[in-house]
Symmetry: C2
Subunit: 487 residues, 2 copies
């Protein structure tokens, strides 16, 4: 008989019942080849003595083994491992058979602000200068909870727990249509609108539908890295167009278009990432004209619409595009709370329908309950009140932050006061190594990135986006004071 006393390990503290543990132990012995087809199992009496288990527990385990098809009971003889089981070889941890090696090029990249371990972020006691995150302390979570309570009390409230619609809640799409017309002259119907999991999903869907491996897409020399990665994932080639103080250089784009067919242009015309520049109206119009002439799509990433401090912001390209070449991508997430992923894509109904179908393949639908709660917050004006309130606070923070940068860092940091967005694009003096800076800062209790996130194959600035929005005034003072000492 096998040394069952050592082979079978039971955990009496577990809340899984002992007979199931025993049954699973036998399954392990069978599947790792210790027990072979036709082998006899010990009698219930013997096993009961060896393990100290009640005989009934052993009987239950054997019954379970039989009912699961691992063993058979032969009258007057006992219990045996099923004779017709295929032979199983003995190789417990053979990793040489791994087939799960990846086919597509590994594209893992790190956002320096997203810790690998939760402890890094969620129990943080250090100051962080992030790259432009909102301050979740301002999120009106109580209002969201109130909406949740109100929905769950309604007689039809549980319907929002059922399967819903890949294109998103009709209520939220209607609320967004009104909101977009009012705030940015973007007049669309719910058929033009897909609710996404943040603006990220909008870019992903658009890229998947527009691009294939042989295609080209134009992006900025400096660009949002996650978007670059999405485009690369389709296999398409990236053509990099310079970006200056007036946004992407559309004259250069035109020269490229004369040589090369491109399927799409990706732009962040408002507060370009990472440099925060806004594209001039002249270039916007020329880009629309080129799109018509050369027949390409414009992916307009306007995730930052809500954060514009001075004059009224430019209306989006999508609002002045009469040829319907623009796929417009927006975010609610960024303004409300990053973890409650909600954004939207606006395009032709046919494109929205195809995007919804792809979205259905990916994750079927969004969170209907959250979408319903957000619609109510738009309807009762709380969402816009929150936006206005945050904007006012962020403006104050921007002003203080830039004032300190100006007065105490002007010899080492070159920057412009951003018209909008949540970060200051800061180019450091070449004598400062950002990687050293980041490491020294960490030791002094200040978390700040090393800038590598903004680099790509041709754009290697000695720069950082310095996020001011998630820090209150005291924290701004403290963190910049720390930064000054480190430099």
């Amino acid at each position: 008989m096998l040394p069952y006393k050592t082979l079978i390990q039971l955990n009496r503290a577990s809340n899984i019942s002992l007979y199931i543990q025993l049954c699973n132990s036998f399954i392990s012995l069978i599947t790792d080849g210790t027990l072979q087809a036709g082998d006899a199992l010990p009698s219930t009496r013997a096993l009961s003595e060896l393990t100290g288990l009640n005989r009934n527990t052993v009987k239950l385990a054997y019954e379970e083994l039989v009912s699961q098809g691992w063993a058979e009971s032969i009258e007057r003889k006992g219990i045996f491992v099923l004779s017709k089981l295929p032979a199983l070889s003995k190789n417990k941890k053979n990793v040489s058979n791994r087939v799960l090696d990846l086919q597509k090029e590994s594209f893992i990249w790190d956002n320096p602000f997203i810790g690998k371990k939760e402890t890094e972020n969620f129990q943080q006691s250090v100051l962080t200068i992030d790259d432009g995150f909102p301050d979740v302390r301002l999120t009106p979570i109580d209002l969201l909870m109130r909406e949740y309570r109100s929905i769950s009390k309604k007689f039809y409230g549980k319907n929002f727990l059922k399967y819903g619609y890949p294109q998103g809640s009709e209520h939220l799409r209607n609320a967004l249509c009104r909101y977009l017309a009012d705030t940015r002259g973007l007049v669309v119907t719910p058929e033009n609108l897909l609710i996404t999991k943040g603006s990220q999903m909008g870019i992903y869907l658009a890229a998947q539908l527009l691009l294939k491996a042989s295609d080209h897409i134009a992006v900025g020399v400096s660009n949002y890295r996650s978007a670059d990665e999405i485009f690369r994932y389709t296999g398409a080639s990236l053509l990099r167009i310079p970006v200056d103080d007036y946004g992407m250089d559309i004259d250069v784009l035109e020269e490229v278009l004369q040589q090369q067919t491109i399927k799409a242009v990706y732009i962040i015309p408002r507060h370009h990432f990472p440099t925060t520049v806004t594209m001039s109206m002249e270039r916007r119009l020329k880009l629309l004209k080129l799109a018509k002439e050369y027949r390409f799509a414009i992916i307009e990433d306007d995730y930052d619409f809500n954060f514009h401090y001075d004059n009224k912001p430019y209306i989006p390209l999508a609002s002045i595009d009469h040829n319907r070449n623009v796929i417009y991508i927006g975010s609610i997430t960024k303004t409300f709370a990053p973890a409650l992923r909600t954004g939207f894509m606006i395009a032709e109904p046919g494109f929205v329908e195809a995007s919804s179908s792809l979205r259905q393949l990916i994750d079927k639908q969004g969170d209907s309950l959250l979408e319903e709660a957000f619609s109510s917050l738009f309807d009762n004006g709380e969402m816009e009140r929150h936006f206005r309130k945050s904007l006012k606070i962020y403006r104050q923070r921007r002003d203080l932050f830039c004032e300190i940068l100006h007065s105490r860092f002007s010899n080492v940091i070159d920057f412009k006061i951003p018209e909008g967005g949540l970060a200051v694009w800061s180019v450091f003096d070449t004598s400062i190594s950002l990687s050293d800076l980041s490491q020294s800062a960490a030791k002094k209790g200040l978390k700040i990135a090393d800038g590598s996130f903004y680099n790509n194959e041709i754009f290697i600035p000695n720069g950082l986006r310095l996020g001011f929005a998630s820090l209150n005034e005291q924290e701004i003072e403290q963190s910049l004071e720390l930064l000054r000492k480190i430099i």
Copy 2:
């Protein structure tokens, strides 16, 4: 002067201020070519008279136009459309320039139970026999709300609104590890686990990482259509293997393997979709053996684990796979609430890491707040209590449903009592047209599908999954009585 009185339409009831409306009207006139570069705008006095607006409102609008770069003020002359604007042609709704035609084959499909319009589903007053949805009336939404309140009251609660982790909350991954070990002998660490938006996203990620256009994947002759669509979307070819009463026929698979390299096999070994059969232990072991020998991955879709009524369910293939060829996909969504998309994928850490990276491209991360609330529900045992309670209710519903099918439909419907799952696979007599049936039923207030969702290029049964779980006993009686009358 242009007929501004008719060209400019203002809505005094809108909550967008009049000067912005006026400004946007001018932008429209400029972008549609009615106003050209260099054109003079009417004086503030003239426009004030024409529109009835206060002169200051007109002034504000003009200032806005100037600040947005659409117009320029020339001293002593007035306001003009910016002279350096590129010429804009006049074509308001020219759709001939549309470039957003899709490249990839359109793959829109319909789930007959997911209405195109919300009114169809959310305000439903008709009885529905769905294809096996849970009853959201059983969802313990109050417990979820309690967790939300409790989290939002904690001093660190707002941290769950920040950016989180593409792999999912560590707390939930830990809770799931304990739960999976206890319930199905699946012993893994949090590194093996990715939290997904429902099992759908698990299948999508696995397919994207495993398959490319020239690859082959084996699936059942009858199969879950969404999975088929996901695999097709990668460009891979589907090889269909017969499925009988003991699950996929692994002997046939072996013959295919001798001829053709395949990258992966997709199986639903527990309650196969749509036919609800469970794969025999013998075939499971043989499949694992073949995976090792022929080096392919097994995508084990076990979305239905929690719904098994009679004996203890088989443990998953993933629990007895020593060669790590299995990618295991599970669902919480299906048991808790379909709209709160939460599932998981279990695989080798390297595969999980790559899947997390791809997930980050798609939508960055899940809903950290929901994940945290779910972890608490696992930790305090409420989740399992809910599972047990639903299981008991669903078993009663299954028994009643099958009893009625047996007593009143035995001449027209062929079925077996399912060991688990939320639906009865029902093959109708060939004299009955399911499409006619569905239409007649709709007229009588019973929503039931026409079965086309289960069809594919070689599987065309006259069958339907009849879902019993979302109906209470009275509704079961009513809906089957209606169905009987219609037949």
